[in-house]
């Protein structure tokens, strides 16, 4: 009888401890381990590109300021979300996100497809003081982003660490990370051609913060926001949206 067995277990702390580990381990093993081995967990997107050093720096500032606490980056397979934000998010789109920033709360709107929906100027003004452009906004003001010069000296190490966890940065990308970051926010720079060669012709090279003399944290954050949802076109090309008037959900492909 199970209770007789338990009578023995609860007399031995080591058996009890091992039992707890064994019983608790099963769920994680079954649910997480196969995600690394089943091939169709993450779609294949040949056009998927990595973040440029400037975008990565912007992403790290997004993390530093805790933006993920109020903004999700995961459009669910629900009709109203697709209508509001755009095509639902695919696993491959966050393949190079270490860690992912899907978020859990929308105090503000989802940002998975915010890229190029608003101008650089709008983002800059909005981040300096959100209430200048959206009077009812409750978002904090991030005026220091425009004041702080971007620290580019560590970017090489950052790309190196990213490549260690599996992001396919080439050696030239890692070695030239600092210069590439400056070049992306300085269209007049001689390094722009190299940046485009490494990251592709679709890379946006602009003065994101409106100040061509300095590369600020604002440049990085805006560059990051403008690439969101645009690392690959897969979500736009393959999505077949099935609508069902009785059911708010959309059948995700392959499920």
């Amino acid at each position: 009888m199970i209770f007789t067995l338990h009578n023995k277990i609860e007399r031995n702390s080591i058996v009890l401890a091992l039992g707890i580990i064994a019983v608790s381990a099963i769920g994680g093993l079954v649910e997480i381990a196969p995600l690394f081995t089943i091939d169709d967990t993450v779609e294949h997107a040949p056009d998927m590109r990595v973040y440029t050093p400037l975008e990565l720096a912007g992403r790290n500032i997004y993390i530093r300021e805790g933006c993920y606490a109020c903004h999700s980056q995961m459009i669910r397979t629900l009709k109203d979300e697709v209508d509001r934000y755009g095509p639902y998010s695919r696993a491959v789109e966050s393949q190079y996100d270490h860690p992912m920033l899907w978020g859990s709360k929308r105090t503000g709107p989802d940002l998975a497809r915010i890229g190029e929906k608003y101008s650089d100027l709008w983002h800059t003004r909005h981040l300096v003081n959100p209430r200048d452009v959206v009077p009812q906004s409750i978002m904090p003001a991030y005026s220091w982003l425009l004041e702080n010069e971007l620290n580019t000296t560590d970017l090489r190490g950052n790309l190196k660490a990213m490549s260690r966890v599996g992001v396919p940065y080439e050696d030239s990308m890692i070695n030239l990370a600092n210069r590439d970051a400056v070049a992306q926010a300085t269209p007049s720079s001689d390094d722009v051609a190299g940046l485009i060669a490494r990251y592709g012709p679709a890379t946006s090279v602009r003065v994101f913060d409106g100040d061509s003399q300095r590369v600020t944290e604002m440049d990085a954050v805006v560059a990051y926001l403008q690439i969101l949802g645009r690392l690959t076109e897969i979500a736009h090309s393959e999505q077949s949206v099935q609508t069902d008037t009785n059911d708010n959900t959309i059948k995700a492909e392959g499920s």
């Binding site: 769920g27 805790g66 606490a69 109203d80 966050s94 409750i138």
Partner: protein, 524 residues
């Protein structure tokens, strides 16, 4: 670290660590320089770290809840950052969550686990150094975490925000904690390990596993704070919510069930209602919770089969959860007159009720169609607070009001009226908070999915958060009442230690004597 760090944040973190380490070393030195415990002292339980743990828990409660009210106000009045980077919502929020979960909850768990394991094992902690190392080491982790958030140092993993160096330190502290716990159990004078210890043990063990796996990362430099998570995208999402949901399960549930299983029967002076129900609930919770994390990722890019497993186990979890809640409430049968008269016991009773409510709500919200409405809204925030205010904080305060007179050997708490006032402030605050967030969440969810007759979305996102304002104000008020209640508890406990006379007969709880288990079926 303070001198060689690559970034200013890392240098400041180093300064925090050096300062804290000096203070800790001083404290440890003064403990070591005391004469070894005499033979007579060894016949007493070692309660000094428990007392310190109670104070630390209350200090973190004040800090964490204050920041909570502040963050709540920021959502209604965004100018309250005063233009400081460290005061923006994104940086303050983890100070609130870590402050209350780890600072308040974690210290309460460590302190009570030291108390429970000694009493139920009828033995003294095996040495005097390691409990202090565990307690102060854990608080150093909390301090490094909280100051780091203000500097913008975070991994962004929810409820696991501290960076790699703090995570490694916590592993060292936690392994010491586990070894200390097992050593104490090994010295026990009782053949059986009492049920409260099963829960504390599950709390220690599983939190270690979750913490290590979820925080696997590659630092950019050993002299900088930044690291990159080993996992990315969908695998990282599943790992984070496997961690996140089970931080709720094994930190906020198992640990505090351990507390409930000891202090509620002791206070009610009744044996646990059903030993068998304890066994089934314990293993049910330990097994099933680990499957439920994927219900945080419904309708996302996570494969459907994982979502389905998550909802299945989430619904089944209701059985062991209500088993525990029912077991606690049935234990009170025959003591209901005490619940009426004794606010301390009433705290524990309400905790069991809210445990039942929030676990039901959790299973309900895990169901896919419900989740499609509730996810990303303030309903989730309401649900979490039903658990942490109604269940966790209530059981902690009920426990502290019982424990403080016991370990300081006082006749009673300083003021019973203040306990009564605290009870009603806490319950009013909790209910205001929950009703505000339920309304906010459901309103948001419905506004986001409402269509016109022409087939377009009726409300802009802007309209949905403008509609939140009154609820956010009400929520901050509810949280404020709860904070005031907690402050009264702090005052009451300090005054008890300072002004209430010693009890005449203290031997029963102080010395390694008669078994201090709420017995009955437990040893049958």
């Amino acid at each position: 670290m303070a001198l060689a760090g690559h970034d200013i944040g890392f240098q400041l973190q180093g300064a925090v660590i050096v300062t804290a380490a000096l203070v800790t070393l001083g404290a440890l030195f003064s403990i070591r320089s005391q004469p070894e415990a005499t033979a007579e002292e060894l016949t007493y339980y070692y309660d000094a770290p428990i007392k310190a743990g109670i104070y630390l828990s209350l200090i973190w409660a004040m800090l964490g809840m204050f920041v909570g009210v502040w963050v709540a106000l920021l959502l209604a009045y965004p100018e309250l950052t005063f233009d400081y980077a460290w005061a923006s919502l994104g940086r303050l929020r983890p100070v609130h969550t870590s402050g209350v979960i780890f600072g308040f909850g974690g210290n309460a768990l460590i302190a009570t686990s030291f108390h429970v394991v000694q009493r139920t094992s009828r033995t003294r902690l095996p040495d005097q150094l390691s409990p202090w190392f565990v307690l102060l080491g854990f608080n150093l982790f909390c301090l490094v975490a909280a100051t780091g958030y203000l500097l913008g140092i975070t991994q962004s993993k929810e409820y696991a925000e501290p960076e790699w160096y703090a995570d490694i330190w916590l592993v060292i502290v936690w392994v010491t904690y586990l070894v200390l716990y097992l050593r104490t159990l090994a010295r026990r004078q009782e053949p059986h390990i009492y049920v409260a210890n099963w829960y504390y043990l599950a709390f220690i063990l599983v939190v270690a596993v979750l913490h290590i796996i979820n925080n696997l990362a590659v630092p950019v430099s050993f002299l900088g704070s930044k690291s990159y998570s080993l996992f990315s995208g969908v695998q990282d999402a599943m790992t984070q919510w496997w961690y996140g949901h089970n931080a709720v399960a094994f930190f906020l549930t198992s640990g505090f069930l351990g507390m409930l299983y000891y202090y509620l029967p002791k206070r009610a002076e009744r044996p646990i209602y059903s030993y068998r129900m304890s066994i089934i609930s314990f293993w049910g919770i330990t097994f099933m919770y680990m499957w439920a994390g994927s219900h945080h990722l419904h309708y996302t890019a996570l494969p459907q089969w994982v979502q389905t497993l998550g909802v299945t186990f989430s619904v089944m979890l209701l059985v062991p959860s209500w088993g525990s809640a029912g077991n606690a409430l049935m234990t009170l049968n025959g003591a209901w007159h005490r619940v009426r008269d004794d606010a301390t016991l009433r705290f524990m009773m309400v905790a069991a009720v809210f445990y039942g409510i929030s676990t039901f709500e959790g299973s309900f919200m895990a169901i896919r169609p419900v989740n499609s409405l509730s996810h990303y809204t303030d309903w989730t925030i309401g649900h979490v607070h039903a658990g942490v205010l109604g269940w966790v904080a209530f059981i902690v305060f009920g426990t502290f009001y019982s424990l403080v007179p016991w370990i300081w050997h006082r006749e009673r708490m300083y003021s019973l009226i203040l306990i009564e006032v605290h009870f009603w402030l806490a319950i009013a605050g909790t209910i205001i908070y929950l009703i505000a967030m339920w309304n906010a969440g459901i309103t948001q969810g419905i506004m986001w999915r409402t269509y016109n007759e022409s087939g377009t979305l009726t409300y802009s996102f802007l309209e949905s958060f403008v509609a939140m304002h009154p609820y956010y104000v009400a929520r901050a008020f509810g949280g404020f009442l709860f904070l005031v209640g907690a402050a009264l508890a702090f005052y009451n406990i300090v005054m008890t230690v300072r002004h209430v006379p010693l009890a005449r007969n203290v031997t029963n709880d102080a010395s390694v004597g008669p078994l201090s288990v709420p017995t009955g079926e437990a040893t049958a």
